[in-house]
Chain length 348, copies 2
């Protein structure tokens, strides 16, 4: 493998000294880029995910266009449930749908363990190809949904407002919920290990729906499985980032789950979180994604504010507090990366 030319992201994950704060953007390979839309226009979403050449192409776009300090392999968190045997529909304008959601023991019995070398080989091939094409320019991140977030989709079957079905499951049949979560966790472990073996330099676990649980329920139905996954990873020195959106509490416990980095959404105060758990983990985030709707002067002022909030020293990976929105002007994303690079030097 080619030697890494820019290892700021990895160094910051490990809280090692850097010359400036690294930045990457969640969903940086996405619809806001005309170059992405051009690729996407030629194929449907799932075909894109399953075609290593297309994955490599869109994964590299933000490195070329924005100059971010890390690439993240283009994919979707729902490829895991699909690899576990669920039929996944990606409906234009509606979002992903599982027409046969998991609701009972019988549904559970039809789930299989995802075999990454077979069912998810396209991701592994994409990682290898992307690593080759990146040629050491920046590190490559692989990701997975957290078991709780995957369970939510698998049980609801589609987007939800109140998450009634998955809540019914955990409150009425916690035993079955735990069985499914356990099975998902095993598939996630195998999936992330296969990505690590294929060459990703770091992994991120997305718990998009951790924040809909009360604090004790988060412990029971989400955090323990994230912890299990991290313990099951066969990694050399690849850092693990956990992004639990909307999870404001239990930060100390979250910081002990084995992750090297905690991702923060924009409603958290990165300064206060650093005070609480910054001795233990690096922090990633946390600009409000809608800040990119503002003028470049305004974006710059908020970049400065976020850098100042984290303060001096390593351990900060700049990012948005959630994925970049599809109607953002790409010029503003380019400016964001430039501002972080320019303004962060004095903190190191």
């Amino acid at each position: 493998m080619a030697q890494l030319q820019n290892d700021r992201f990895l160094r910051a994950c490990r809280k090692q000294k850097v010359d400036r704060t690294p930045i990457w953007i969640m969903r940086q390979a996405g619809r806001y880029l005309p170059e992405y839309r051009a690729v996407r226009a030629k194929s449907d979403f799932l075909t894109m995910c399953k075609t290593p050449e297309l994955v490599a192409e869109v994964t590299l776009q933000p490195i070329d266009i924005l100059g971010t300090d890390a690439a993240i392999i283009f994919s979707d968190i729902l490829v895991i449930p699909e690899a576990m045997g669920m039929f996944l529909e990606m409906n234009e304008g509606v979002g992903p749908v599982f027409p046969k959601p998991i609701r009972n023991e019988n549904d559970f019995n039809e789930l299989k363990d995802a075999d990454p070398s077979k069912d998810l080989k396209y991701v592994i091939d994409a990682v290898e190809l992307t690593k080759k094409e990146l040629n050491g320019r920046v590190p490559l991140i692989g990701f997975s949904g957290a078991p709780w977030t995957l369970l939510t989709y698998m049980v609801e079957g589609k987007g939800s407002k109140n998450f009634s079905e998955v809540k019914k499951l955990i409150y009425n049949n916690p035993k079955l919920a735990h069985k499914i979560l356990d099975k998902i966790s095993d598939s996630v472990i195998n999936y992330l290990n296969a990505k690590i073996e294929a060459g990703v330099d770091a992994v991120q676990i997305f718990d998009t729906w951790g924040g809909i649980l009360s604090q004790d329920d988060f412990d029971e139905f989400s955090l323990q499985y994230i912890t299990k996954i991290i313990a099951g990873l066969k990694r050399k020195d690849q850092p693990v980032i956990v992004f639990a959106k909307g999870v404001h509490s239990k930060l100390r416990r979250l910081a002990k789950c084995g992750a090297d980095v905690l991702g923060l959404d924009w409603t958290m105060d990165i300064n206060k979180v650093r005070e609480r758990v910054g001795d233990r983990v690096a922090l990633q985030g946390n600009l409000d994604p809608t800040i990119l709707y503002g003028t470049q002067d305004f974006i710059k002022s908020r970049v400065k504010k976020t850098l100042e909030a984290y303060g001096k020293g390593s351990g900060h990976i700049f990012n948005l507090g959630h994925g970049i929105l599809p109607d953002v002007n790409p010029e503003n994303a380019i400016a964001l990366v430039k501002f972080v690079h320019e303004e962060s030097k004095k903190y190191h």
Copy 2:
């Protein structure tokens, strides 16, 4: 006015001694009750809001059926923007829509100050009629949306996922945003004062969307207007409850906005919040609404847990952490009220 026969709710708001913890349920006059659906079947939603006899009827239903310790006048937070001159459509299955949302200075100039004695007379009439029909059984709560939450609806025009339009407004034209928020606040003050004059025993301000703002933005675009409203209320001893959903931070500052009670959603730890601000305010909440999907044994166990988390002494008003969901079995809501009444005695 008839003497109050059950003042537990008001006493708890003031942190005075009670013999058991009072409970009411957000959206307790709602679709989960067949009795409500029977009334609703005969008229559309807005007509119901504007017909004092129907408002009084559904407002009293949960008092008769569940035995809650407070009534809350049936209405909708969007009657304020409507009274400010916006055309409001209530579309079955889609939710409320403002076909002409506020996006610029011209739109703003068309807004007028709501005159409660004229534009919202139907609410005032409904309060008076309901007070009469309640005949002192339990206190009556009046409510309003917080200015930030109202602004969100007025600018987005409909339900939103990313709140792009209102964020564009506050980031690109904060001056205009503040002008609108100020105008909304004035209308809310007049509206709540008219309700107080008409006889409500307490008021609740709902900031449903406070949690989509970063912490400093919440201060600037929400909290200062809530504070302004409370300062503008002409009240004798009517307590004010502020429910800012998803606002986990700045609890100390929130506790200083003039409110007597803070409402907590289910993702907060009522025990820890009491430790932080319980000397200053009473706390309302905070059972996960989806707990009511569970068995009655399970509901009872979670009721006990919440009561135990708040602990001994007054200052706790039991409630869900958000509105009761439309597909909840009413028997479970009845059981919830019973369990709170039975299990809470030992804490007083």
